[in-house]
Structure formats: structure tokens, C-alpha cells
């Protein structure tokens, strides 16, 4: 799934990491690998570590809780409508008497799912566009970047709304496409920049000069280096996309009943906020927590995977 951290070395206590330490004389030099280094740097950022744990916890909760919950998230029961938090319903019940905690977990599946799906589309478009532009260079690169400049900063919401109108019904993939259609520009730019930097790097030239085949250059130098940027990009794009989904659902253009996303739950809650504000607070706080975590994770990943940009 969406583990934000690279493959961790869990038994870190027994294996001495030699990052930043000179190897003991005579001892075999332990080759430090990229992901081990990254995990070492990520771990030092306590805010990011905590955010990562909360993020994984939330995703796991959304996946597991609807299965083990004693309440049916679709079961309408007006006798139980709008109850406050209790032992049976930890976050109370909504206007239709459904358990809010279960609904929140269910809505989280859709919100987070759409978030990752849209981010995936953004990455696919961004990587394709950016790497073509960066690899080929010259006039093509110039033209493609001018095109990006032209579209830069366009408000994504009108274009998302138009896209939804084109597709017709606001299903899962319709939302993902709508949210990615005017948001991939930044990723394309970042990828292009990275590719160009990598191409000019001395170690890439050195590898070529030493007779490395292009496959080796690609697998050993280029792929790992763009991969880091892409993992960061996932958590840079995720907050905007999840917020966008919430906005669309809130103005009534997103996921409709009986299904729920956090945005549509907030919309239902907004209808009754004067008498029962809990219903808008719960999904909104869920959105805010997830976005906050994603921001901190992105910060931590930037330090971990792209240490050269740390100063800027």
C-alpha cells in the first residue's frame, strides 16, 4: 500500500548504520544503500515520523473499520438520528441514524482512494511530459515548456467542474480525472528539471565514459534519482487533490448518496450545522489531519530523498 517511508531497516539497533561515520580501520566497508540512507535521514525528522505513523494509521483504519464495525454504514434508522457520542456510537450518528465513525472510515476509503488515483494520473502525465521534454531538449523542450508556462497557475476548480460535466456522472474515476486535468503542470516541470540535471551530472558522464551500458546508467543512476522526486511528489500533490475532491463534493458535484466521501459528508453536515455541528466537524477534521500529515511527510521525504534541496 501507500507506505510513505522507504523499506525500513527494522532491526536498526543491531545493525550499525555507517552513514556519516568513518568505517573502523580494518573492518569491511559496508556499502550504504540509497533507501537505508533515506530511512536514516527520515527517522531523524520526528514530526515527519509521527505524521507518517498517523497517516498509515488513518489509512489502515479506513480499510479495516468498515469490515469489523458492528454498524451497517448504509442502514437508515431515524429513531437513532443525530445522537451525540456514546459508547455504542463513538462519534455519534448522522441525520439518517447511521454510525458516523463507520461512515467516516467508509468516506475515507473514497476520499483517500480518489486522492491516490488522481495523484497517480498526475504522475503519469507529469513524468511522460516532463521526461520527453527533458530528454529530447532543444526546440521541443522550449516549446513544451512555453506551453506549460501558459497553463501555469490556472485555477483548477473550473476545469475540474467542466470535466465532470463532460463525463456526466461523478464516479470514482471521473473525479480522479477531473482533479488531475489541470493540476499536473508542477509535476511535469519538476520531472523535467530533474531529468535535465541528471543528464548533465558528472557521475552519469563518468559512468558512460567508463563504458557503462545505457541500461546500467538508467537502472543505477537515473531511475533511483527520479524515483525519490516522484515519491515526494505523491505527498506534495495529495493534499491539493484531497481538498479538491472535498470542494467538489461539498458544492454537490462529487460523490453522491448513499456513498460517502469526506466532502459529501461535510456537505450533509453543513445542512444541519446550526443544530448539530459535529457532523461537519468530523469529516473536516479527518481531511485536515490527513493533509497536515501529508505536508509533514513531504517535508521529511524531501530531506530524506533529495538532501541537496534542503537549504532552499
Amino acid at each position: 500500500m501507500s507506505t510513505p517511508t522507504p523499506k525500513p531497516v527494522t532491526s536498526g539497533a543491531t545493525i550499525p548504520l555507517d552513514v556519516g561515520h568513518a568505517p573502523t580501520a580494518g573492518a569491511p566497508i559496508r556499502q550504504s544503500n540509497l533507501w537505508k540512507d533515506a530511512w536514516y535521514r527520515y527517522r531523524r525528522n520526528r514530526a515527519a515520523l509521527f505524521a507518517g505513523a498517523v497517516f498509515i494509521g488513518m489509512v489502515a483504519f479506513c480499510l479495516i473499520y468498515p469490515v469489523i464495525s458492528p454498524h451497517d454504514p448504509y442502514d437508515v434508522n431515524f429513531a437513532d438520528a443525530r445522537q451525540g457520542p456514546s459508547l455504542e456510537h463513538p462519534l455519534g450518528t448522522d441525520t439518517f441514524g447511521r454510525d458516523v465513525l463507520t461512515r467516516t472510515a467508509l468516506g475515507g476509503r473514497i476520499s483517500i482512494g480518489i486522492g491516490f488515483a488522481a495523484t497517480f494520473i498526475i504522475l503519469v502525465i507529469g513524468v511522460t511530459y516532463g521526461s520527453i521534454s527533458g530528454f529530447i531538449g532543444g526546440h521541443l523542450d522550449n516549446g513544451m515548456m512555453r506551453f506549460l508556462d501558459a497553463l501555469y497557475g490556472l485555477p483548477y476548480l473550473p476545469f475540474a467542474i467542466i470535466t465532470l460535466a463532460i463525463i456526466g456522472d461523478a464516479g470514482f474515476w471521473a473525479m480522479a480525472v477531473a482533479l488531475s486535468i489541470a493540476t499536473w503542470f508542477t509535476t511535469a516541470r519538476i520531472v523535467r528539471g530533474q531529468i535535465i540535471t541528471l543528464k548533465e551530472n558528472d557521475y552519469v558522464r563518468a559512468a558512460k565514459t567508463l563504458g557503462a551500458r545505457w541500461q546500467r546508467v538508467l537502472m543505477r543512476h537515473l531511475i533511483p534519482n527520479t524515483l525519490g522526486i516522484l515519491i515526494i511528489a505523491v505527498f506534495l500533490e495529495l493534499p491539493g487533490v484531497i481538498l479538491g475532491e472535498a470542494f467538489l463534493s461539498f458544492i454537490g458535484l462529487g460523490i453522491g448518496p448513499p456513498d460517502a466521501s469526506w466532502g459529501s459528508m461535510a456537505q450533509e453536515g453543513y445542512e444541519v450545522y446550526r443544530v448539530f455541528p459535529l457532523l461537519i466537524i468530523v469529516p473536516s477534521v479527518a481531511i485536515a489531519t490527513l493533509i497536515l500529515c501529508a505536508n509533514f511527510i513531504a517535508d521529511g521525504l524531501r530531506d530524506a530523498l533529495d538532501p541537496r534541496t534542503r537549504e532552499t
Binding site: 467542474i161 467542466i162 472535498a246 461539498f250 481531511i287 493533509i291
Partner: protein, 311 residues
């Protein structure tokens, strides 16, 4: 410099054409027809007449050319749904509240965000810094519909007798306070983080050390030498901030029942009023493009190194 400005001005023309084209192509993909929705179904012959009247029967390139001509002569065409209203008129009546709201929110964000960021940078890694950054991180993450609702719930409903603030509308000055805060909070947090980051960086520059070594007073060093250079990124942040304001206004206007562009836009999409949707999309896009242009020119003025790179 003059050459740079002229080149930058000319460059916006193809950009605007491209964005109109992009919007135009998208709009044409929408299924359905404003004259064919169930509650206003009309006979075939009248339908054809209507389509002829609005030019919908012509090939797409003719429609596009006409539309571009209209945009550059400030005529966005008639509304397809509301008889006797044209898009210009809709813009005239609904744009001023949106513009005002955006401007107020921007002022709010600048007035509170920049000092907050400065304070954080000058007291870096203290409790004050941590709490200010925590607040701005949270402020940036909370969706604007929750901020708006909470503001109304507390300041207009619960303590309404005491504050005297209304829950909605956009006529008296009291009614403008809560929407301004609701929309401005996100950009404020953005500015605070931006100013803090650049200011911390600037404070480590050699010329700051020189200024202090010369014996300049600390206040002068901060205001004249540090702040001025730290504000350049704030100028260049106009693009994302403008997008933020436009996106946010869709929600905030809806919740506070402000008769602005955002509220109108959603209705127009649902009524399949192509010309209104297109007009408003193009308008918002052109605003962003022009703002980008102004920022580029300003940036070229503030930091001459960028002029050649962009020309």
C-alpha cells in the same frame, strides 16, 4: 528593460488564445444542450432556430474565431439560458463582490501573514515560533468550509448579540468581516511560512553580518536589509495565491450567500449555459495570466538576473 516588458506583454496574447482554445475544446465535449433539458423542451424547428441564433450550427472553427474576437473586444456573448441577459452583464453584476472579497482576503493575509512569518524567523526555534508555525500549518490544512461554518457558528450565531455580525450577505461592512477571514486564513498561513523560510535564509547572508558588524541597529538591519529581500518570494507567490483565492471563493461565497462569480458558476454548469461557463472560465484564466505577467515584470525589475533567462 523596455524590450523585456514588450516581449512579456506580447507573449500573453498567444497564451490567452491557447487557454481560450483549451476551454473551448473542453466545453464542446459536454453532452446535452441548453435547449433540450426536460423542463424547457422545445419543438425541433424552434430548436434549430435557437441554435442558428446563437451560432451553434456553424463549424467549430468559426465559433472559435467569433469567440476570440468577442473576448478581445470585451463581448462575451449572450447567455443561452437566461433570456435577455448577456455574459458581460452577469460579469458586471457578479464580479465586483468576488473581486472585493478576494482583495480583502489578500489584504488580510498580507497584514497578518508577513508579521507572523517575521516574528517566527526572528524567534526561530522558540515556543513562539513553534506555535505560530503550528497554527499556520493547521490553518493551511483545514478546509475552508469548516473555517466558514465555525466562524458563522461562533461569531454570528452563538455570540451574535455581542458581535452583531450577520451570517450571510455582502452589503454592510459587518457582513464582509467573516468571509474575508474565512478566505484569507489559508493565504495568511502560506505567507507566514514563506516569509519565515526566506527570512531565515536571508539572515544568514554575509551582507547581514556586515551590516551588523558595521554597528547598525538591529531594527534597521531587519527592516531595511532583511525584510526587503525576503519579500521577493511573496511577490512571486501571487500565482498560487490567486488560484487559492479563486478556488476558495467557490466555497466561501456559497456558504455566506455572496452573489459572486463562484456561486453563479456552479448554477451555470448545471443549467448547461455554455456561454456563461466559458465566459467565466476565460475571465478567471485571463486574470491569472495577466497576474503572472505582472509578477514576471515586477520580478524582472526586482531581480534583473531573471530578465535574460525568460526572454
Amino acid at each position: 528593460m523596455t524590450g523585456f516588458v514588450i516581449r512579456r506583454l506580447l507573449w500573453t496574447i498567444p497564451v490567452i488564445l491557447l487557454v481560450i482554445f483549451f476551454t473551448f475544446v473542453l466545453m464542446r465535449q459536454i453532452e446535452g444542450n441548453p435547449f433540450r433539458t426536460s423542463e424547457r423542451a422545445v419543438p425541433e424547428s424552434i430548436q434549430r432556430n435557437l441554435e442558428r441564433r446563437f451560432g451553434l450550427d456553424q463549424p467549430w472553427y468559426v465559433q472559435y474565431a467569433k469567440y476570440v474576437q468577442g473576448v478581445f473586444t470585451f463581448d462575451l456573448g449572450p447567455s443561452l439560458v437566461l433570456r435577455n441577459r448577456d455574459v458581460n452583464e452577469i460579469v458586471r453584476t457578479h464580479f465586483p463582490p468576488s473581486l472585493q472579497l478576494g482583495a480583502f482576503a489578500m489584504i488580510f493575509a498580507l497584514v497578518f501573514g508577513i508579521p507572523l512569518g517575521m516574528l517566527s524567523a526572528l524567534r526561530a526555534n522558540t515556543f513562539l515560533d513553534y506555535s505560530a508555525m503550528f497554527v499556520s500549518n493547521v490553518g493551511f490544512a483545514i478546509p475552508s468550509f469548516l473555517i466558514s461554518t465555525l466562524l458563522i457558528y461562533f461569531f454570528a450565531l452563538k455570540w451574535g448579540d455581542w458581535t452583531g455580525l450577520p451570517t450571510s450577505g455582502w452589503d454592510s461592512w459587518q457582513s464582509k468581516i467573516l468571509p474575508t477571514i474565512a478566505l484569507g486564513l489559508g493565504p495568511m498561513a502560506y505567507f507566514a511560512r514563506l516569509v519565515r523560510g526566506t527570512m531565515l535564509e536571508t539572515l544568514q547572508q554575509d551582507y547581514i553580518r556586515t551590516a551588523r558588524a558595521k554597528g547598525l541597529r538591529w531594527r534597521r538591519v531587519v527592516i531595511v536589509h532583511t525584510l526587503r529581500n525576503s519579500l521577493i518570494p511573496v511577490v512571486t507567490a501571487a500565482g498560487p495565491i490567486l488560484g487559492f483565492l479563486i478556488t476558495g471563493s467557490f466555497i466561501v461565497e456559497q456558504i455566506f450567500a455572496i452573489p459572486g462569480i463562484g456561486t453563479y458558476y456552479v448554477d451555470a454548469v448545471e443549467a448547461r449555459d455554455y456561454s456563461v461557463v466559458m465566459g467565466l472560465t476565460v475571465l478567471l484564466s485571463v486574470i491569472v495570466i495577466l497576474a503572472n505577467m505582472v509578477v514576471d515584470i515586477l520580478y524582472g525589475y526586482l531581480d534583473p538576473r531573471t530578465r535574460d533567462a525568460r526572454s
